[in-house]
Symmetry: C2
Subunit: 192 residues, 2 copies
């Protein structure tokens, strides 16, 4: 079962599950909670998913798939220079994390809860997303926009971005785009 041929019921359940997994965490979310959100009984869930693990896998597939699609789109629409591309990636990343605020967060924070088979099945998606980042960061390094080790820079940047989930308050004065721009400014070296 992949992202493309899903029933509408299953799609809606995946959406609700993502929300609960972010709020409560995967382990503390019970099938009964999810069923109640959907307005059905817990037994009925297992018509749509084999088990609770499959719900998690569906959410994470959705979240990663979406992040990848958003990032690709952002790269198509932005300017060709390394800084524009870096900013576009950071903005897209934070939009999926802070605005959408669901499936991608689960993908990042509950990845370890996936069983080995699901992890194997989904790692290509994750790798594709990370490859996009490395490509953009490589270009920024090659151009001297940023300095340092390719591996470390990309992980530090991802860490700074991913951690925003823990403290960002959407009611505050800053938009996700503001955050992305500030981060890029922090690590790039301009002629003033």
């Amino acid at each position: 079962m992949n992202v493309i041929n899903e029933s509408p019921r299953r799609k809606e359940l995946t959406r609700l599950a993502a929300q609960l997994f972010v709020q409560e965490g995967f382990d503390r979310t019970t099938v009964r909670m999810l069923a109640q959100e959907m307005g059905i009984k817990s037994g009925s869930l297992f018509h749509h998913f084999r088990d609770k693990q499959e719900i998690l896998a569906a959410v994470i597939e959705e979240g990663t798939h979406n992040a990848l699609a958003m990032a690709r789109q952002a790269l198509v629409e932005c300017g060709p220079d390394a800084e524009s591309r870096l900013r576009a990636m950071a903005r897209a990343h934070l939009e999926t994390l802070l605005t959408d605020r669901n499936a991608h967060v689960v993908a990042l924070y509950e990845w370890r809860r996936l069983d080995p088979e699901a992890r194997a099945h989904l790692s290509h998606l994750r790798d594709a997303y990370e490859a996009l980042w490395e490509e953009v960061i490589d270009a920024a390094l090659a151009q001297g926009l940023i300095h340092g080790d390719r591996f470390l820079v990309s992980r530090f940047v991802m860490g700074a971005l991913n951690w925003t989930v823990r403290w960002y308050d959407p009611r505050g004065p800053r938009t996700p785009d503001d955050l992305a721009d500030e981060l890029v400014a922090m690590i790039t070296r301009h002629p003033a």
Copy 2:
């Protein structure tokens, strides 16, 4: 019950619990697992802790207390300039996360699992640690070593550091100190 007057048994249990909470997560760690690690039966645990929540609170108190102590010590021993102090904080932070690899990680990643009373009781420790960071970052900003918004810079830096837990491999070529130095280099602006 605070960090100072703990029985040796309780101290050892707290240490083992920290290890399990990092490996498995708080929710998936059962009292039976912890008891087995200790070589006792699960019922015996409740002689040392009122309930499972209190175990978590003990681990988090230990982790935050320790991080604060290490950071203070590092600031005493390092050079007086803003860059030395920033590097010292980053090194101390990563040492508690990656070398000790236990209680401080739990403090960061399982804070949300604390019940409200425990959170209220421990937030002063956490605030003291964050105040130390803000002080050092303020100095670096004032001196022009780094640029940007005080609030955002400190959260981006903490995010980059905290996320290392997810990917750092101690068998790799880099030490935690290498990571700290590279991060400081990435965000500071030198005359080349």
